[in-house]
């Protein structure tokens, strides 16, 4: 089966172009954009790990290593499309328009952290694994019913493929031919469980066969390849050719979250090797160098710019006003029920020191 689903690449890990024809579509500027977004995401990620260590944010979920998959796919969306991320997909949401400030607030346990700027359709990151898949089918079905050509793109991990909602989401999308791209990041692990224990199949892509769904397997660390594959899937979706399942093979370098100790279940030296070999940023750097389009100075410029962006966001986050109590009450229902109103009153009575 694995032979039916070879890991497609446009650019190999040494930066060589494997599909010259397709690369015609991709300007150097576009590639530099991709690099920029990946670098931006990575610097933010590194910063967050530090912030967590310093106790300035809570438990944090790293994505370092997965920037190729997330940025490449996010860039294939257009305005008005819908994104359904998980807790690990901040490189994707950041690229699609979520603000750094909000991402940081997310790790401070703030509701604002899950809300994108007005007009950008990003669902709050799904925590119950795979639950976002049928929702993405529903949001796309809505677009189809409205007669637009907007699509939804939904992220999920290798572990998520085991949940019933993975299956139900794919089935609904295929039955209703919704314009949905199911974008799987196979990073090899669901917390400590390697993909070999998660499933008996060698690929995730082949799971699309059960639904007669377009399905393919790509190198998730080849940002250009990811971009093109998702672009194709999005195009299919827009033009009414239904959903696609994409398995993007990738790797997280770090722990599952800052609360996790990966040395319990794997040899972290593999991550070190991968940093030198399959890294998505390194690959673009090599490609650009091969094209004579790499300027160290440019890199330093964008780095400086990103770092100042991060600093600004950090300041905004740290000076952000404390949450208002009413966030708890005012958004359960459009109008609070008496039960809630009574609880507010009592809450305030106690807070106000009025104890009888």
């Amino acid at each position: 089966m694995i032979n039916d689903f070879p890991m497609q690449q446009l650019i190999d890990q040494d930066g060589n172009v494997l599909d010259h024809e397709r690369m015609q579509e991709i300007s150097i500027e576009k590639v530099k954009d991709m690099y920029y977004f990946m670098h931006r995401a990575r610097l933010l990620d590194k910063k967050c790990v530090n912030l967590q260590r310093q106790g300035r944010i809570g438990t944090y979920v790293q994505y370092e290593g997965q920037e190729g998959a997330q940025v490449g796919s996010a860039l294939a969306l257009e305005e008005g499309d819908w994104m359904f991320p998980t807790y690990r997909d901040h490189a994707a949401t950041l690229t699609y328009g979520q603000t750094m400030k909000n991402l940081l607030l997310n790790w401070r346990g703030r509701i604002e952290g899950g809300i994108a700027p007005e007009g950008i359709h990003i669902f709050p990151p799904a925590v119950p694994i795979a639950s976002q898949l049928p929702q993405a089918a529903g949001a796309a079905l809505a677009e189809k019913k409205k007669g637009t050509d907007r699509v939804s793109l939904v992220y999920f991990g290798d572990g998520a493929t085991s949940e019933g909602d993975f299956h139900e989401g794919l089935n609904f999308a295929s039955v209703f031919q919704t314009p949905t791209v199911f974008f799987n990041q196979n990073n090899g692990y669901a917390i400590s469980v390697p993909v070999e224990k998660q499933m008996n199949s060698e690929t995730i892509a082949q799971k699309g066969l059960g639904y007669d769904m377009n399905c393919l397997r790509i190198d998730g660390n080849d940002v250009i390849g990811v971009y093109c594959a998702v672009k194709d899937a999005v195009h299919k979706a827009r033009s009414g050719a239904g959903p696609t399942l994409i398995e993007a093979v990738t790797w997280r370098y770090g722990a599952h979250t800052t609360a996790d100790d990966p040395s319990k279940y794997r040899d972290q030296s593999e991550s070190e090797v991968r940093r030198q070999t399959t890294d998505p940023l390194l690959r673009v750097e090599k490609y650009l160098k091969a094209q004579d389009a790499w300027q160290e100075q440019w890199k330093q410029e964008i780095e400086a710019q990103i770092e100042s962006e991060i600093e600004t966001a950090l300041e905004e986050m740290e000076s952000y006003p404390e949450p208002e109590m009413n966030q708890l009450f005012d958004y359960v229902f459009e109008t609070p029920t008496w039960t809630i109103q009574q609880q507010i009153d009592e809450h305030l009575a106690v807070k106000g020191g009025k104890t009888s």
Partner: protein
């Protein structure tokens, strides 16, 4: 001034069908999704004729997957539609529990109002119609304890139409539970035109002096029978209140009635422990402690899985049990 309102005598299932048709007709965003709701018109005929009338794009036969139905409905609701999702029986809502509990009910709060899930979950429920296993669960309490969803239970056609139209108009999730025993047990006059009944308001089925009986759904039938006998045989004057909405409960109506009669009995079909009846007791305790002359008696189903049908009459609260509880309460 009097206005002539056209009415027709309908069973509850007809009232529901009428409400659904009204909603589909009036608002393009209304959709119906579920198993067998389309061509078949639903296993109880709740959606009879609706697909023919409004098309298969709006009355949608889905694959057999409740989590998929709910998840898809949430996506539709967040993106501008007003889905009405049918669970074929309430006993089959469990696979959809995760979608309801972690998403439908939380989307407004998780996004501070950016996205909402204005959807209705409809489900036939309860025992007493000799249905197969698992078809007869009455688990309304699972939803009254779930923040972010309202729980509505009609007991007749008039209420069903008005409450369902209000539920569909509600900007937040509502679970609308339809006691199967009430589907065809009686007919009531139902206005042909659109009307709504506010959620959270109980209805007084009968006024009385000695004891308040709170109930809802199919138990209104048993309760009214018991009351008739109690009044005739024992001269106990009973007030009967159909709660109609279980979350939020009608606190004022409960308090007013108990404060008048000074005694209360709650009748529910679900297993006694942890049911909505305990919550009615809470409201009474909170609002009317000093008025109570005797402990509030709860009559409920047994703390056992709803059995297959040969045993369901033993399982269900009987007229005798209700009478027994009322007598105990009055003679305490």
């Amino acid at each position: 001034m009097s206005v002539a309102v056209e009415t027709k005598k309908l069973t509850m299932i007809q009232g529901i069908n009428d409400a659904l048709s009204t909603a589909l007709n009036e608002d393009e965003r209304t959709l119906i999704l579920g198993e067998d709701v389309g061509v078949n018109g639903g296993v109880f005929r709740a959606t009879e004729g609706l697909q023919e009338k409004y098309g298969s794009g709006r009355v949608i036969d889905t694959p057999l997957a409740e989590s998929g139905i709910m998840g898809t409905s949430i996506g539709l609701a967040a993106n501008g539609f007003r889905p009405i999702a049918e669970m074929q029986f309430l006993g089959f809502v469990y696979p959809a529990f995760n979608q309801i509990m972690t998403h439908a009910t939380r989307l407004r709060q998780r996004t501070l109002g950016r996205y909402t899930s204005p959807l209705v979950i409809r489900a036939p429920y309860g025992a007493g119609v000799r249905a197969p296993e698992i078809h007869s669960d009455s688990v309304e309490a699972l939803f009254t304890h779930m923040p972010g969803i309202k729980v509505v239970v009609p007991s007749n056609a008039y209420d069903a139409k008005g409450l369902l139209l209000e539920s569909i108009a509600d900007p937040d999730p509502v679970i609308f539970l339809e006691p199967m025993r009430c589907y065809r047990s009686s007919k009531t006059e139902v206005p042909e035109e659109k009307y709504k009944i506010e959620l959270g308001k109980a209805a007084t089925l009968k006024e009385g002096e000695d004891v308040s009986i709170f109930t809802w759904g199919a138990m209104t039938i048993e309760t009214m029978k018991a009351v008739e006998q109690l009044e005739a045989e024992k001269e106990i004057s009973c007030e009967v209140i159909d709660l109609r909405t279980l979350y939020p409960l009608d606190r004022d109506a409960i308090a007013a009635s108990v404060q008048k009669t000074t005694r209360a009995v709650v009748v529910q079909e679900a297993p006694l422990t942890g049911g909505v009846s305990s919550e009615v007791l809470s409201v009474i305790q909170d609002t009317s402690f000093l008025y109570l002359r005797s402990p509030v008696k709860q009559v409920g189903g047994l703390d056992v899985p709803v059995p297959v049908y040969s045993l369901e009459n033993e399982y269900l609260p009987s007229v005798d049990k209700i009478k027994y509880a009322v007598e105990q309460t009055v003679s305490f």
